[in-house]
Amino acid sequence: MTELIAAPAVQGAEHVASEQPRPAVATWRSFRREPLGVIAMVVLAALVFVALAAPLLAHEPASYGQAVLRAPSAAHIFGTDSLGRDVYSEVVWGTRQSMLVAVSASFIAIAFGTLIAVVGAYFRRLDAVVSIIVDLTLSLPVLPLMILVAALVGPSTGTIIVVVAAFSWPEVTRIVRAQALTVVNLPYVDAARLMTTSPVWIIVRHVLPAVTPVIVVSVVVTASRAVLSAAGLAFLGLGDPNVWSWGRILFEAQQSGAMSSAWWLTLFPSLAILVLVLSATLLAISYNDARNPRLRRR
């Protein structure tokens, strides 16, 4: 997390006068004062811990039990499902899958989306093509297309990651491109053009650092959307049938007809999704506010 927050300092950090704190430090100081942002960060860190330590926190929910559709109790704190499996274990192991999909899909989408955006912004001739493709892709009905691809290719974790990433990058490109377009016209980029003929160097050294804050926000937003999309696919029965995910718990609850009577089957995975997406959103908002000097208190 500290790495993410330190990132915007790269650009022009050397020129800042000594009495002024470096931008990253100022951002961090401002961020620390916002309780919501700090709470969101702690919650996200806790969820990452749950994902990593799932085998220590719960047994793998494979075995069928005698106690079918029991309400939450001391033995099963989140109750049991229609095959007698412990819902707590399912939710804990589902955290793993959600985190994996969110992180991998958003990484692919960000890497590809940023590359397209920055290259498009730097080479103006490509930009017209890029913007048309992005606009057209954004007008496609995303979830139905994800359903189409996931169903034809066959449900697996890899498929879901690729599908979610494939339909998430245009949004990244749209946001990063807007920022990159203003950056490439700034005098320091012109100055850099006088110093080197290598566009790769200028993009890596000067354009990318300037769009990093937008990327940071974009990572969080894309990851939380990926969680929702993956849960949507799993809810429709297109998730990986061998791995537990929050969407799969909901899907199986609906399939068994127990969704309406056994409230715990819906409540706990729903809360897990809500907590993850909400804390990611709050983190992005707080970071954005902290980064903006006009909104900083004191």
Partner: protein, 320 residues
């Protein structure tokens, strides 16, 4: 002249969008695993029966020819025959489209009708408790998984209170006024779920743009001229703040359609989103192609409507 050019460019863009959606669907269906021939003709058939069926559906021709023929037929309003139901795709979709349009339009109208006033309330009480509350509700709403809110509503209003039906789109065996009433009753919960997950974006956008607009020089000037605050707020600031919110409708359409698929699944609503899901599992390619075409057309039409509203709100774009 420039006006005509503007309209022509918009129309060209609309056609390009529709063509793109149709082509992406066609290519995905042909490139990805899953053989349309398999869906029409089972491998246990005799070779001649199989060949006859494939010829009937045009699947014996090369893919590029199929694509050309498909586009040609589409321009003439013929979307082909459903693989599984053996009736024209148009008929399959015509039975489903009205339900999806009813559901999404109701949700959209509700969202705008509730979201804009809430945004105004938040912006005018900026920093106070009411503003904080609206913001928290907005951000939370954005983070909710559509089926979660659907099941919650279904559980509370359908199963516990028995106020509203829990699934379907109408009651069987009712006619006339009773039928319309049942349609209305079946619509409440799905539309409400779809509204609640969308509301946040509209409220938050409305709030931040209105706060910006209230800080602009022209609102300060209007106030300095002695205009009452309410008039400045509703006539001057709000009109400008509505522009980004109008743009948001266009941006959120894809999301709305996705939400509709999930909502229709939770409430067993016989709409096009559920139809797409069923067509995918049955490999019914003509229905899928038709459904995506319809969705693309809907998005294009909605974007045009948004453009018209935009031009009405901001006369500058009409001449630009």
């Amino acid at each position: 002249m420039s006006r005509l050019l503007f309209v022509l460019r918009r129309a060209g863009r609309a056609l390009l969008t529709i063509w793109f959606a149709v082509t992406v669907t066609f290519v995905l269906l042909r490139v990805l695993p899953g053989d349309p021939a398999q869906a029409v003709a089972s491998t246990t058939m005799t070779a001649s029966m199989r060949a006859a069926l494939l010829t009937q559906y045009g699947l014996d021709k090369p893919v590029i020819v199929q694509y050309g023929l498909y586009l040609w037929q589409m321009v003439h309003g013929n979307l082909g025959i459903s693989f599984t139901q053996s009736i024209p795709v148009m008929q399959v979709l015509a039975a489903r489209l009205p339900w999806t349009l009813l559901l999404t339009l109701t949700a959209l109208v509700l969202t705008v009708a509730v979201g804009i006033p809430l945004g105004v309330v938040a912006a005018t009480s900026q920093g106070r408790f009411l503003d904080r509350l609206v913001q928290v509700v907005g951000v939370t709403g954005q983070s909710i998984f559509v089926p979660s809110i659907g099941v919650l509503l279904l559980f509370v209003f359908g199963l516990m209170l028995h106020w509203l039906p829990i699934g379907g789109a109408y009651s069987d065996g009712s006619y006339g006024g009773a039928w319309y009433l049942s349609v209305g009753q079946h619509l409440v919960l799905p539309a409400l779920s779809l509204m609640l997950v969308q509301l946040g974006s509209y409220v938050l956008t409305m709030r931040s743009t209105l706060i910006d607009a209230l800080g602009e020089d022209y609102t300060v000037l209007a106030r300095a001229n002695g205009l009452p605050y309410r008039r400045v707020l509703w006539k001057h600031a709000l009109r400008n703040a509505l522009l980004p919110t109008t743009t948001l409708i266009g941006l959120q359409l894809g999301f709305l359609v996705g939400g509709a698929v999930l909502t229709e699944t939770v409430f067993a609503y016989p709409g096009i989103g559920r139809g797409i899901y069923e067509a995918v599992t049955q490999l019914d390619y003509p229905v899928l192609q038709g459904a995506f075409l319809l969705l693309a057309v809907t998005v294009v039409v909605a974007n045009m409507v948004t453009d018209i509203i935009y031009g009405y709100l901001d006369p500058r774009v009409k001449t630009a």
